[in-house]
């Protein structure tokens, strides 16, 4: 097996969004423009493959904002490696993410 997982463009885009700090499912949707039916299963796959990891928000933070606690995702070292490899393949990936964040 190769060391790094090869990602499709869509998967790389989602990983890029999570790597950029948009760690919630809906924020990834907003950044990538992909529907929830694509984003959430893709994040589950990446978590299963060790590219990202999830963590529940602390209850105290959610209580302070009067909403349920959310689950957020962070990119792992393996995910970073895969993302770097993907960015070499998709040069517009980083630019696209930057543009989205600029809006």
């Amino acid at each position: 097996m190769p060391d790094t997982v090869k990602l499709s463009h869509t998967a790389a885009l989602i990983l890029q969004a999570i790597g950029a700090g948009d760690g919630y499912g809906f924020s990834v949707m907003e950044m990538t423009g992909l529907p929830s039916g694509t984003v959430y299963p893709a994040m589950r796959r990446m978590e299963r493959d060790g590219l990202i990891r999830s963590q529940w928000e602390r209850q105290s933070i959610a209580d302070a904002e009067q909403r349920p606690p959310r689950k957020y995702y962070k990119i792992t070292r393996a995910g970073n490696d895969a993302l770097e490899a993907s960015q070499k393949r998709y040069p517009l990936l980083a630019k696209l993410a930057a543009e989205e964040r600029g809006q």
Binding site: V5, S8, A11
Partner: protein, 442 residues
């Protein structure tokens, strides 16, 4: 709108349902005030895809762990599993069922020279020749080199009565069946069922029609391809001569010249009472097993488009396309899969004991297996033959007229990407493979 999420949650494995629902509830609480109810509705609709993914791939679910064990992503592992299946079903078939009986027997060595002889060809059976007529005409039937007679009587096995054919001693010799020249000969199935596979059966006395006969051998059930399957045969000149002259029985004849296939023909002879007898010759079927199997599987292969398409997808060559040998290997892989599926199906059908329904069962399971083989082939990388992974849904239905939408899969070894359109359009009618440059494989 939370009811949609609760409905979708029913699909999620129970051990993960609460956490899954909590995550979607939290997200919905954020989406609704920010984007409105319509967007929230579309958001919730996506929960079903996620829930289905969780059902299929839940880390803690036993089925997922089992699937991981039986994963056939690697082509070698796939072939290894198919080989194991073929060998184990063959072993089971040999152990628990009379595998050989499930298939049409190979014809007699010179079956084109053999024919049944009957006086009433329109009758339901051929057992209509009285013994006295057979004796009178035995050596005088035109174009007949030799003839044999057999009739049924009852014998007594340890468990229940059995049907025994008392035959003229030349019967098996004429049919070129390897069997003792005289004595009581059992069919293998009779020996198994009625005599519980008794290893000391040879030499044992068995009652046949009120007198004892000695068991001298066992023959395969397939050795008998003539009408009326008896459970044993008694070849004994004395007993044969002692049969009442009026006993009706079957007559099989060996002809001097090969019989025309599938045609009845007649000949006349006079009997000992100076009467004319009109004898009808009925040829014995002599189709080969290979032809019968071919007749069974070829229509199945032709009917495959009912379940799936023959086309394996578009693989447009680019400068990164692999050499011809690699592409040939892909077809060899498909052929090997099919070659291993065939014995598995034949043997497992026998093991399941559905021999009377065999043609229908075989045809259906053959069709389903071919569908699997074709679909599996479509979902493999044409270069390394590993199953593709990381499927991601792309686009929406509204993209249909602008670009394709559907699923994208990737070869984890970096050989290419597979685009599978959700619906066929004039631009994307088939799934399409994109070969990637070798740096992906590094």
């Amino acid at each position: 709108m939370n009811w949609i999420l609760r409905l979708a949650a029913l699909i999620v494995p129970a051990d993960k349902r609460a956490a899954w629902l909590a995550e979607w509830d939290a997200e919905l609480a954020f989406v609704r005030p920010r984007c409105g109810n319509v967007a929230a509705l579309f958001f919730c609709a996506g929960a079903f895809s996620d829930a289905i993914w969780m059902r299929r791939n839940g880390e803690l679910s036993a089925s997922a762990e089992l699937r991981e064990i039986f994963q056939v992503r690697s082509p070698l592992r796939c072939l290894a599993w198919l080989t194991v299946l073929a060998l184990s079903s063959l072993g089971l078939a040999l152990r628990f069922s009379s595998l050989a009986n499930a298939f049409p027997p190979e014809p007699y060595r010179d079956s084109q020279n053999l024919a049944m002889v009957t006086l009433h060809p329109d009758g339901p059976r051929y057992a209509d020749v009285p013994l006295w007529k057979f004796r009178a005409a035995e050596s005088r039937i035109p174009d007949v080199e030799e003839a044999a007679f057999y009739t049924h009587v009852l014998g007594q096995s340890p468990r229940k009565p059995m049907v025994v054919a008392i035959a003229s001693p030349n019967l098996f010799r004429m049919l070129s069946v390897a069997a003792p020249a005289q004595g009581l000969i059992l069919a293998r199935s009779t020996w198994r069922r009625l005599f519980k596979s008794d290893p000391t059966i040879i030499g044992r006395k068995v009652e046949v029609d009120g007198r004892y006969a000695t068991v001298t051998g066992i023959i395969s059930d397939n050795a008998w391809q003539l009408p009326a399957f008896p459970q044993a045969w008694l070849l004994d000149e004395t007993r044969f001569q002692a049969l009442p002259p009026n006993s009706s029985g079957y007559v099989v004849a060996r002809l001097r010249t090969p019989a025309p296939s599938n045609f009845f023909w007649t000949a006349s002879t006079t009997n000992s009472r100076a009467e004319y007898d009109r004898l009808t010759f009925v040829p014995i079927p002599h189709e080969s097993v290979a032809l019968v199997i071919l007749a069974l599987f070829l229509p199945g292969l032709l009917a495959l488009p009912v379940l799936t398409r023959y086309h394996l997808g578009a693989y447009p060559a680019n400068r990164h396309a692999p050499p011809r040998t690699v592409r040939v290997r892909r077809w060899f892989f498909l052929a090997t899969k099919i070659a291993l599926i065939l014995p598995t199906l034949l043997c497992s059908t026998c093991v399941l004991g559905v021999v009377p329904l065999m043609p229908g069962c075989l045809m259906m399971s053959w069709l389903l297996s071919m569908r699997w083989a074709w679909n599996d082939q479509r979902n493999r990388c044409p270069v390394c033959l590993h199953s593709l992974s990381l499927p991601v849904r792309i686009g929406e239905a509204s993209h249909t007229f602008l670009e394709w939408y559907g699923t994208e899969l990737v070869c984890t070894r970096g050989h290419g990407l597979l685009h599978v359109p959700e619906i066929s359009t004039s631009c994307y009618s088939e799934q399409r493979w994109l070969y990637l440059d070798p740096s992906w494989s590094s």
